[in-house]
Every structure is written in C-alpha cells, then in structure tokens.
C-alpha cells in the first residue's frame, strides 16, 4: 500500500488570480523555456545601465556628503590675539544651525553608504521592484534632510558674510576668514550631494517606467 501526495505547483499569485500569462515554448529537445523578445532583452540592458549609473552617483554623493560633514566639523579658528576676558575663537558648534548641518549630513552620508548593497542588488537583478521602491522612498527622505541642512547653513553663512544692518548683526567673516571659507565650502559640498540625490530619484523613476 502506498500513498501519493499531490503537490500542485500553484503560487499565491495564481490562487489570487493575479498571475500574468507567460509565453512558453518547447524546444526541439523537449525542454521548455520562456520566450524573451529582443525588446525585453534590450529593456533589461537599459535598466542594468541605469542601475550602474545609480551606483556611481551614489558613490559621488557619499563623497560629497561626508566631505561636507567633515569640513564643517573641522572648521575651527582661533585668532592669534586675545584680550584678558575674551578669546577670539570660532567653531561650528557656536551656531546651532551648523551643529544641525553636521548631524544631518552625517546621517545622509551614512544612509547612502548603507544603500550601496541595495544598489548592487539592483545591478545584478534589474527587474526587482521592492528594492527600487525602498530606495526611492529613502532617497526622497535623504534629499529632504540634505536640502534642509544645506538651506539652513547657507542662510547663516550668508549672514556671516554680509551681516544685517537692520537687525544689527555684524558680519563675522571679516575677522574669521578661514572659518568662513571652510564653512562656505561645506555648504557647497552639501548642495552637490543634494543635486546627486535629485538625479538618483529621477533615475529610479526612469527605471520604474520601463517596468
């Protein structure tokens, strides 16, 4: 006496009625395979190209974001003269906006580093949708954080360069030249990283369009 158990190869998509109908063919030696048109192969190559470009852009954005955070974090200047009561020292943590800048750019840089494996997965398997949607969502959040940090720091750097006569705010760049240069350079680097993130989101949109 023997029992046989029939296990049907039915995926959950078939059971839900969502499975697409796929064209198959039987080769002359009896094996079966899926038909792939030239268009499908070309689309896969196009998406692989986009994924490679995405990976390279991510590397560039990592460099820009970490450079911004590092430059701002190491911007400290002590003037060579001092009086009995004051020491003329400017550092990024004198201004809370710059503290926010350093933290935000470090978060963006860290996120970009952690997203590299997902980008590599997309190069290997260009038609995967779930990693791409996850990357799009997190890239948008990272872009917002990056643009916010850059915008806020740019406003304060502008004030430091020009001052404001109506509010009686003096331009501190007149005295702290090196500090000002480093801080301005950090803001420029954060704008480069923001532009890279914009391109990353748009690229993902193009890749999804060919889906």
């Amino acid at each position: 006496m023997s029992t046989t158990i029939d296990i049907t190869e039915e995926t959950s998509a078939v059971a839900k009625g969502k499975a697409p109908l796929i064209a198959t063919t039987t080769y002359s030696d009896g094996s079966k395979g899926n038909i792939k048109t030239k268009g499908a192969v070309a689309a896969a190559g196009y998406k692989k190209g986009i994924a490679i470009f995405d990976f390279l852009l991510r590397l560039g954005a990592i460099v820009a974001a970490l450079a911004a955070a590092g430059t701002m974090g190491s911007s400290e200047q002590t003037l060579p003269f001092f009086t009995q009561f004051f020491q003329f020292r400017a550092s990024y943590d004198d201004l809370p906006t710059f503290q926010f800048f350093v933290i935000a750019m470090s978060i963006v840089g860290g996120y970009l580093v952690l997203s590299l494996p997902f980008s590599i997965v997309l190069i290997i398997r260009p038609s995967a949708v779930a990693p791409k949607m996850l990357l799009v969502a997190l890239d948008i959040v990272a872009l917002t954080l990056n643009a916010a940090a850059g915008g806020a720091a740019a406003a304060v750097v502008y004030l430091a360069h020009n001052g404001n006569s109506s509010a009686n705010w003096l331009a501190i760049c007149q005295q702290f030249g090196d500090f000002c240069q480093k801080v301005s350079g950090a803001v420029v680097a954060s704008f480069i990283s923001a532009v890279a993130l914009v391109f990353l989101v748009v690229l993902s949109g193009f890749a999804l369009r060919r889906h």
Partner: protein, 187 residues
C-alpha cells in the same frame, strides 16, 4: 540570462480592471494633495510678504521698523514659496490628465522630475527661513547677534507662523513623489 523578464502575454481580466482602479485612486489622491500644497505654499508666501511691524516709539535718527525684506533670506523664502505654488497650479492639468488616463507613463515621469526639483527648492527655502527665524528668536552670543524678537513681537510671530505652510508643502511633495513612483511601478 538571469534577471530578464519573460514575455507577458496578458493578465486575468478582473485584475487589469482592478489595477486601473488603483491607479485612478492614486491619481485622485495626487490631485487633492496638489491642491493642499498649493494652498499651503501660497498662504505661506503671502503671510511672509505682508509682515511688517513699526514700533510705537522712535528717536530722532532711527525709526524702529521691521519688514520681511530687511532680511534677504526671507525674500528668498517668499520667492521660493511663490514659485512652488505657481508650479502646483500649473501641474494640476497634468494631474487631471493622469486621472482620466490611468495608463499614462510620460506624464507621471515628467511630474516626478519636476516634483523632485521643486522639493529641493522648497526645502532649502523653508529651512533657510527657519534658520533665520531661530536666530531671530534666540540670537547668538558668540557672534554678538541680538535676538530681535524681544522687541518685534508680532513680526516674529508672523514669520514663525508662515513657516508652517511651506513645511506642509514639503510633506505634500514627499507623498506625491512616492505616489507617482508607485503608480509607475504597477505595470
């Protein structure tokens, strides 16, 4: 070859109709969010641009008056918010087109491109305004910048309140881009 998608001949009929319905729902939500964003950014721009306060006392030489364009960052804030609200208005027709035609791809990718650019612009403008508002509230002892809010109370309240509308616009953009991307991802 690994990673190639096979040729899809078709789908079960009910599923296709259901997907078109989901895409239409996404497009309607997109339209509503654009209206919300338009109202938010427009009100923010108007509120900031109409802010001025004149203190009731004056000396012989100085008149104590605060206006939004005394601070160039606020001018940038008003310009950015006005530009984004104009963009929201101009993108409403594309959004309506997406509602009518659920399988539109090119219009959605155009919307993604411009939405991302406008998101960056609006976030930069609103956070620059927020940085200056923070300085106006707290000042900075190390840089010898006095907190002007101590004297100009209603000016300060108005500029702080006008930040809210622009942050509503930022949130709307984030959700919009996600919606457009997920609508594109559904075949």
């Amino acid at each position: 070859m690994k990673g190639d998608a096979p040729v899809v001949l078709g789908e079960p009929k009910g599923y296709t109709a259901q997907k078109a319905g989901v895409k239409r729902g996404i497009a309607i939500l997109d339209f509503i969010l654009r209206l919300v964003g338009f109202i938010g950014t427009l009100s923010s721009a108007i509120m900031m641009a109409t802010t001025n306060e004149t203190l009731p006392f004056f000396t012989q030489f100085i008149r104590f008056r605060a206006e939004y364009n005394d601070l160039p960052t606020f001018t940038f804030f008003v310009v950015a918010n006005a530009a984004v609200s104009a963009y929201f208005l101009l993108s409403l027709p594309l959004s309506i087109f997406n509602i009518l035609r659920s399988s539109a791809k090119n219009s959605r990718i155009i919307l993604i491109i411009f939405d991302t650019g406008m998101l960056a612009l609006l976030t930069a403008g609103s956070s620059a305004g927020a940085a200056i508002v923070y300085l106006a509230h707290r000042g900075n002892t190390k840089a010898n910048w006095l907190a002007i809010c101590q004297q100009f109370n209603s000016f300060c309240e108005r500029i702080s309140g006008s930040l809210i509308g622009s942050y509503v616009g930022v949130t709307v953009f984030i959700v919009l881009i996600l919606l457009s991307a997920s609508a594109l991802a559904r075949r």
